[in-house]
């Protein structure tokens, strides 16, 4: 319900934004253009904020050569959704600050947002978020990836992420020796 309400409000704000031409155009590595609100981009991405402040924003599309169109679409999608969602109380910092990365649980829409992504899209998105300095998106995606590993053995993780075991026999033996308390092979 809250989201619906937020959407409505955002619809209005977007109209206003368009009237002021308050958007940034981003260009993916394969030349596709995406538009995102300047305010959201500046708030969510430290890199974009720096570019906007530094005036290095190109009206015909700022080149982001490191980011593919699919990932950039997700990034823009995330920015728009984030602008639409009402910031929860949890995101407002409390009086005592804990420097040890006070990670807030992903909100429902954030969870859904990352849940629908394929493994590859997730990989692209986490790299894009890292490149653009989008702390919150990085947190949410990393959280999602960590959830996919929880309670799994190395073999199972390798299977999920299609990773080849690149250790040599000797190295594996070494790891096992180091972590003998935890691993047991038959």
């Amino acid at each position: 319900m809250e989201v619906d309400k937020g959407k409505g409000e955002a619809e209005e704000t977007r109209k206003v934004a368009e009237a002021d031409r308050d958007t940034v155009t981003l260009k993916s590595s394969d030349g596709k253009l995406f538009e995102v609100s300047k305010e959201a981009a500046a708030r969510l991405s430290t890199v974009l904020a720096g570019m906007i402040a530094g005036g290095s924003i190109d009206d015909n599309g700022t080149d982001l050569k490191q980011i593919g169109s699919e990932a950039l679409e997700n990034v823009v999608d995330y920015c728009n959704k984030h602008a639409n969602s009402i910031p929860s109380a949890a995101l407002i910092s409390s009086s005592i600050s804990f420097n040890t990365a006070p990670f807030k649980e992903p909100e429902e829409w954030e969870r859904k947002f990352v849940d629908r992504l394929s493994h590859d899209a997730l990989f692209d998105l986490v790299e894009a978020a890292n490149f653009l300095g989008m702390e919150r998106l990085l947190d949410v995606t990393c959280h999602k990836i960590s959830e996919m590993m929880k309670g799994k053995s190395p073999d199972q993780i390798r299977e999920v992420f299609n990773i080849k075991n690149d250790y040599t026999k000797e190295e594996l033996e070494e790891i096992r020796q180091e972590l003998a308390w935890a691993f047991y092979d038959d």
Binding site: A90, S146, M149
Partner: protein
Amino acid sequence: MGLCLSKQRRRRRRASPRWSDLPPELGGLILCHLLSHVDRVNFSSVCRQWRLAAQQQQQRSLPPALPWLCSSHVPTTCLPGLTTGSGSHPMSFTSPLDGFLPHDLGVLHSCFTSLDGIWLLYEHEHWSLHCRRPRALVNALSGAITKVPPAVVVPPPPRHLLDEVSTASLKQNVHFSGGLWLFSGGGRCRWYEDMAFHRGKLYGLTYNGELFAHDEVVDVEGGAIDNIAAIKESHAELVVNKPHVALTTTYNLGAGSMRYLVVSDDGKLLMVRLGFPCWYYFVPPMVWARDDIATVEGMRVEVLEADFEMGRWVDVKSLGHGRQALFVSRWCSKALSLAGSGDNRLQPNRVYFVGADFTKCHSFHNWACPLVAMLDHLAHGEHHAKAQPHRLNVLDPSRPALLRSSGDDGWLELFNPGDTYYMCNTCSGAIIRLPRVPARLCVKSSEGGGGGGGETIPSWSIIRKVMVCSPGLIAAILYSNAVGLYRPGDTSWLVYPAPECNDIGFYRGKLYSVTNDESLFAHELVNGSSDTISQHVVEQVIRASPNRDERRNFPRMLYLVASCDKLLMVKWIVPRRARSSIRKDNTAEAGYAIRLKVFEADLEIGRWMEVKDGLDGHAIFASRSCSKLVRLSGHDQRFQGDRVYFPGCESPNYRTTVYTGDDSPSCRFYDMRKNTITKVFLNKGDAKYQQSYPEWFFPSPQQLCM
């Protein structure tokens, strides 16, 4: 199952091999989201690139992992309660007849409980050599990390999860005595041997196999129900009559039997009956081992299904079309689909008895758990006998070590009767021997410090708390509440006789101690004029609180909690009047309620600042032996932020015995936002005084990878 497989296949096709090239900084971020130490270890063993990520992140910083619990007398006291609200089942993957078969895998030696599972340490016992070797650490909940069992993780479906959470919390709150649950509600009470949630109703099973249904059972969030009143008007209704043939008649008169209720995966309510001859109570059963199957003489297991329409029990020949196995124990029972499990030890159509349920028969003591029953005959799974060289070989069987106290970051304090103390790192197996405590400190001081006293204290409690600050510095609170520092290689403790030391904490390279009056001291070892003699220098950082009245009137406990950027003090306050009239709900109004406050040390100005608005999503795990600030994330209702957990047994200062009474924080958590105290049962329910008590420790982050 089929759905599950197809999903995996799709995933495999989708994930491109790029994941192995995950940039180390991103890998490090992901690692920070893994709170289980074991998950972190697994992460770092996936491939070289990920290992690099783990190594780099470790050097930067890693949030503390969830704590582990260590108990020396595991199977009997710990295991049952540990299933508390966890929703998963404690599975043990050993051969069932531990201690009886010379070629056996190992003996359950101890149990480390972490918030991410129960870890069972198995040891290999060479009967001929009279020595033991730890051989495996097994996650009792999921079997997740280890290759024991290889690659079997069967996540229970959410429906069961809910069911189990509810049952477990109910069971905690129902009076438990002599193996039966007293279930009262709606003005009536009844003794049940087991209970289960099934299709929205609570079912209770009596000792003679009658099944009763209860309606309108209210579940409370977090799996913790404060008292039985949460069950509203349970109308008990006799639904299934006792079985035609009582199992007991199969054997001699007075034979023993046990019953369990399990909800199967396909939605049936099952009863597991276990019968054994009466002489089991006195003589251990005969066991014949033949190949991989052992037979226990005279024992019989039956599985019956509740036929609600006809109101009777019906024999079950196979479990879930031959796909399921049942895991049963007094505290929590579950049906799991094991079809296609590659592990010979875990096979469908078997009943695994995993609890410590047999201890009521004295002769069963040695094989309290686990027992595996096949439907046609008792047997245990195949096992792979292959000893593994191990570093954690510190427990000398001839002198059973007392795991008395826990340490920080994976260090456990061990004590051999008649010998000295030593610290052992649970992960690396490193050992530091501690020097003897000066004799003058081994005398109990009189109330309120000072000298006097006279009573010699038992040697095992001379060191109250010990922590390994760094490989080169060990700090301890010695019994007379003095702070001792020790550098490995020195000959003795350097003691600062602060008589009222309550707790110590290591923060930003310095050792701090807090005294009864809330003064904070910084301790340092300074090299003296000659290199060999160092001095223990103490400086007062925060002065005592001026409010002496409060101090006198309120017995309390103080804990120091050091995180990377702040030093916190947790104060557990018990007003004197509250002690005499403690009410069941600890949230009593007025000023007499038990309270908890958290302060942050302002070292520059030299004062305590109260932390009022919760802990910003963090939780504190506090105990006499180690306390830590842990960032919690996840859906686990049991462990939430802005709470202070006391998972172990805490003795208030005015008590000397292990005590879990209402005015002690033992086995409780305090919700800072709601100001409520809730019990967490990590040990057997209501026992006020416990003989062996759990200790928490935090797995060492340094051991992630070397």
